[in-house]
Amino acid sequence: MDLTLKIWRQKNRADKGGFKEYKIGGISADMSFLEMLDVLNEDLSEKGEDPVHFDHDCREGICGMCSLHINGKPHGPQQTTTCQLHMRSFKDGDTISIEPWRASAFPILKDLVVDRSAFDRIIQAGGYVSVNTGGVPDANEIPIPKVMADEAFDAATCIGCGACVAACKNASAMLFTSAKISQLAMLPQGQVERKDRAEKMVAQMDAEGFGACTNTGACSAECPKGISLTNIARMNREYFSAVVSSNNV
């Protein structure tokens, strides 16, 4: 198929940036969206132009590295990662707009690449459990009810892609942060730092400049892993009960 691409180009953080239009032909419906961009970049390289920079890594939908706001939606028209989006979702002759995630906490580094290290700092603030290193513990040493294990696992499937932030009108990171708080709050291993974790991760999330939650539900609707809003409610419970009962004055 033949397509027109309107792509956000920006030299560096300081550059103002703007849209540039590209025509591209010979795209197969079986290609992934990123492969389509690879074709474009090969064209550009051959012409001696600067290729379009975008993030990607596994291309299997598991690492969370790919991003892109495609035709007005994070990761495009399907509820999946951009690497798992295929060109069969588009028609011959389509015009596709491609923008970077927009959030002051995710500054643009170049073109479509944004700096998502704010997520790493939220994790560093409390998204861990302290365990003694040593021999590998036996499986099932700590009994965990299956329903709890499943719910914690559902939260843990968050791949940290940032689509929730990209989709939210407030660029809020509540879905991400709540998933990371939840996955540990529900497990016995997570109890030691439970209160500290809720307070510190929320504080870091605020310090990074992510917005607040209006409960629009856009995050969950666009999340490639379908992380549920119940995690945000749980985070609120964890946080409110932590601030009233913890020893941090």
Partner: protein
Amino acid sequence: MSWVTKTLNSTLGRKLVMALTGLFLILFLTGHVSGNLLLFKGDGGRAFNEYAKFMTTNPAILILSYLTYISILGHVVYSILLTSYNKKARPINYAVNRPETNSSWSSRNMGILGTIILVFLVVHLQGFWAKMHWGDIPYVTYDGQEYKDLYSVVVFAFRQEWLVALYVIAMGFLAFHLSHGFASAFQTLGLNHRKYSPAIEMIGKIYAIGVPIIFASMPVYLYFTSLK
């Protein structure tokens, strides 16, 4: 900063204030709409005027009314804080954006809806509440006791088509605000449960449609009865 101010300045703390004040205002609306049903009684306004006197003189009601003023103020101040904070988190908008595919219009426009409600509130309070408290108001006597005749003020006001229209339209906006706000407040408080949340959402929708309709029917009813 103490832990209290730190919490109230956090995104979650600010939302907590929005949810608590919003829920209190919902409680207030419930009482307000129930009491005002007396306007339909067709007794020349006696029951309504007695109720109005009770509401402005009873000491227990006084505490509730101060809580209501604080809630309105807190809700408005925090909505400004939150909305401007949220705007800063996304200074540059998308050139192409399709939020209608992932969220409801009301949920994305709570600030606009709230501002319209606030404008309405100013008109509404100035017209009735301020009049009742400090304004020139005729008196009636029931069983030898004097009452401010708020009823006739209300009846007189709603002879004006534009005011009736304003009230009906404002209630439409209130309905949209509540259609998102009701359930949203529970989610903010962390009250989310697979057993109860569907019921909360259902009650929220019924409340958001029902209460504004009853409110709006009052000026409409009084307007049409004044034509006779």
